[in-house]
């Protein structure tokens, strides 16, 4: 039996790792990967807690999470592709077209 604290530590590490990827990488695809890593951290927490309390809800939640993540990833990948199609870049720093300047006055 692995103690709860071990799995929670791993989960926290995964979460922080994912967050670091999101914060540090500039490539949209890597940011998506970072998101996935964070999701995995969360799922691991759910599993560990479910095991700790002898409750199947954690596993149910994880399966849901996987399904939802897969769906979300499909949409997100299409968006990345579209961004590349239309804007010719997947560097997140280049995607600043919504940036507004207040010089223009009332619309």
């Amino acid at each position: 039996m692995i103690p709860l604290s071990h799995s929670l530590t791993i989960a926290a590490l995964l979460f922080v790792l994912g967050l670091a990827i999101i914060l540090l990488r500039r490539e949209l695809l890597f940011i998506l990967m970072g998101l996935e890593v964070m999701f995995n951290g969360v799922a691991l927490t759910a599993i560990a807690a479910g095991q700790y309390w002898n409750n199947p809800d954690g596993q149910v939640l994880t399966i849901f999470l996987m399904v939802v993540t897969a769906a979300e990833l499909a949409v997100a990948l299409i968006l990345v592709w579209l961004a590349f199609e239309h804007l010719k870049t997947t560097q997140v720093d280049m995607l600043t077209r919504l940036k507004d300047d207040t010089k223009g006055g009332a619309p």
């Binding site: 999101i22 914060l23 997140v92 600043t96």
Partner: protein
């Protein structure tokens, strides 16, 4: 019967999903058929409910499943069909079906029917969901769905930037109201830990005292939501611009159904308003002001659809007036008749616009002449019903009843005087349009025949605009008084003035439309000779509300933004410069006395630190996604740390 309730909002939702997901396998012309079938199933289910005696039995209920279970709070996907909801679903599903059928030919030439019918079906589903929802959370879901569909359909022809911006304007303006409604729901949940409408209202009447602070706040927040959706003063500015959408959409969403969602919401939560008499009175006051506003602005419009838009604003004002006077059943009656005659007017206007190469101007429409007699008669019936032409039209019965009920409310005679003046103006503006468009129209080249689906929908609506009112004859008249008796248990009833007063009020209500038609005749003759109405420009812009909001809201916002930018520049850069200068002075002064290297180094270090801080600060608003992500996570960590500590 109860187990079929889900079909009412479910079948349009299913239709929308099929069109959205499997639309690739369908041909253009199949979308309209599919969408109409979905609407028809909803309508037939409602019809079935009537046949099974839903009108006389206890409210029907169906709980599909528990939506969210958090502790002992379990909002459900559940429907309740009581009498109020029964009236609403009947109106919405029947008019929705007719307009789907009308759209088959109206939108036949359009290349993007998939999007159109998806949103039309989704709208119908959202509206029916809003009506049938048995808890406020589900109601709010429907409320947002119809708002989204309204936005998408106003801007349906989005390649035209004007139309797209009209859609955005509607969305943003109604959002103010939606926010208020959401806050109201949060407040109620915070107080009662419960969102089921019936339980909530029962708790409120038991726990809250009449006129105390909580019900006033709750009622005000709900009223805010209703005002936004129903385009009442001061959030009415989006509705005239919403006419940029296709005409069937204007008829369905911006005349018959969605704009009356606010009326439904207030009628649904009326015990709250009875606990807050001041707010109830302000509902009446807002309604009265809006009647005058809408009617006077409609008087000077030249675009036929804008006349009808302002007319909708003003007619919904009558419903608010009735709600404010406690005559909820009569508000519902006017809602029903208005839905039919206004949908009729919009559809005839849409047909005219379509057959005359997108001509919206009433003067030009009149000059072109040769409108088919079906259109002419339908418009006349709609106009007469809107004006409240006595005895033969449905509009007369509902409007007269509201006027009479107003008299005995607090400050009734004043409200009555405004509302009666509004009803005079109503007859003037709508018959001004009628005379301009149809009077002296020459019979030129024969028009292309109107396709059958359009003819059917128009005829059914015209018939309904005449006969729906017969369910409730005026007070003291022989004939049926079904409506208010039937709804009395659920919605309460308003106090009536004495019979003698009622008769004189009824007489005035009969005479006003006739006078209005006469005035319209004179007005049209004068306008054809080139005389303008006094204040025409002011009225045409809707009392300059847009310009007013531009001045008091939008411009200050931009000024504020520019001000902060300047403050940032002045404060941070100015301080930096000053620090540099004083640092330099100090450095020169101390150069000989103190250790040169230490001081110089520390000052350069300080400067560099400040520069860095300035750069970092201004970088918070640089539009870089990763920077925002960093901010969000830092904020979350900070809050979490604060909360745990």
């Amino acid at each position: 019967m109860s187990q079929f309730l889900w079909l009412i909002p479910g079948s349009p939702m299913l239709g929308a999903l099929i069109i959205a997901l499997l639309g690739g396998y369908l041909k253009q012309r199949h979308f309209s058929i599919l969408a109409s079938c979905a609407a028809a199933v909803a309508f037939l289910t409602v019809l079935l409910a009537w046949l099974m005696g839903a009108a006389t039995s206890q409210p029907l209920q169906q709980t599909l499943y528990t939506w969210i279970g958090v502790g002992n709070w379990m909002p459900t996907i559940g429907f309740t069909l009581d009498r109020l909801a029964l009236v609403m679903v009947s109106v919405v599903s029947s008019i929705g079906l007719l307009i789907h059928i009308y759209s088959i030919t109206f939108m036949a030439g359009d290349s993007d029917q998939r999007r159109y019918y998806f949103f039309l079906n989704l709208f119908l589903a959202g509206m029916l969901l809003l009506i049938l929802a048995d808890n406020l959370l589900l109601l709010y879901l429907g409320w947002e769905l119809v708002g989204l569909c309204s936005f998408a359909l106003i801007g349906f022809w989005y390649r035209d930037p004007l139309r797209a911006s009209a859609g955005r304007k509607a969305f943003i303006t109604t959002r103010i109201g939606d926010l208020s409604l959401a806050l109201g729901i949060f407040l109620l949940f915070n107080e009662f830990n419960e969102l089921s409408v019936s339980v909530l209202l029962a708790n409120a009447t038991v726990q809250w005292e009449t006129g105390s602070q909580m019900p006033i706040l709750a009622a005000l927040l709900i009223l805010g939501g209703a005002i936004g959706k129903s385009a009442q003063l001061p959030l009415q500015i989006w509705l005239p611009d919403a006419m940029a959408g296709p005409s069937p959409v204007s008829a369905l969403i911006h005349a018959a159904t969605m704009v009356t969602a606010g009326v439904y919401l207030i009628a649904r939560t009326y015990p709250l308003f009875e606990l807050a008499p001041q707010v109830q009175w302000s509902v009446a006051a807002i309604g009265t002001l809006t009647i005058i506003y809408g009617a006077s602005a409609a008087l000077a419009q030249n675009d036929i659809k804008r006349v009808l838009a302002y007319s909708t604003i003003s007619q919904v004002g009558y419903m608010f007036l009735a709600l404010g006077c406690g005559a909820n059943a009569l508000a519902l009656l006017h809602l029903t008749t208005h839905a039919f005659f206004k949908a009729l007017l919009f559809l005839t206007a849409g047909t005219m616009i379509r057959t005359n190469d997108n001509e919206h101007n009433i003067h030009n429409l009149g000059k072109r002449g040769n409108h088919s007699s079906l259109i002419r008669w339908c418009f006349l019936i709609g106009a007469a019903s809107l004006a409240g032409f006595p005895i033969i039209t449905a509009g007369f019965y509902s409007k007269e009843a509201i006027l009479t009920a107003t008299w005995s409310a607090p400050t009734g005679p004043l409200l009555w005087a405004f509302a009666a003046f509004g009803s005079l103006l109503t007859a003037v503006y709508i018959f001004r349009v009628y005379f301009f468009v149809f009077q002296g129209s020459r019979s030129g080249s024969p028009m292309p025949p109107i396709p059958a689906p359009m003819t059917w929908s128009l005829s059914i609506l015209a018939l309904a605009s005449l006969v729906v009112g017969f369910v409730e004859f005026p007070e003291g008249w022989p004939g049926l008084h079904l409506w208010s008796d039937w709804l009395r248990d659920e919605l309460g009833s308003a106090s009536h003035p004495t019979l003698a007063t009622a008769y004189s009020l009824q007489f005035i209500a009969c005479v006003l439309p006739l006078i209005g038609i006469g005035v319209a005749l004179v007005l049209v003759r004068r306008e054809k000779l080139g005389f303008e109405l006094p204040l025409a420009a002011f009225l045409r812009t809707g009392w300059n509300f847009d310009a007013l909001y531009q001045i008091i809201l939008i411009r200050p916002y931009f000024t504020l933004a520019r001000f902060f930018k300047n403050v940032e520049a002045l404060l941070i850069e100015g301080t930096l410069q000053k620090m540099t200068r004083s640092g330099m002075t100090v450095a020169t002064a101390c150069r000989d006395g103190l250790e040169y290297g230490v001081l110089n180094k520390s000052i350069t270090g300080l400067l560099a630190g400040l520069r860095l801080g300035h750069m970092r600060l201004s970088a918070t608003q640089n539009g870089l996604l990763s920077r925002y992500a960093l901010m969000i996570s830092a904020g979350a960590v900070f809050l979490l740390g604060y909360w745990l500590w």
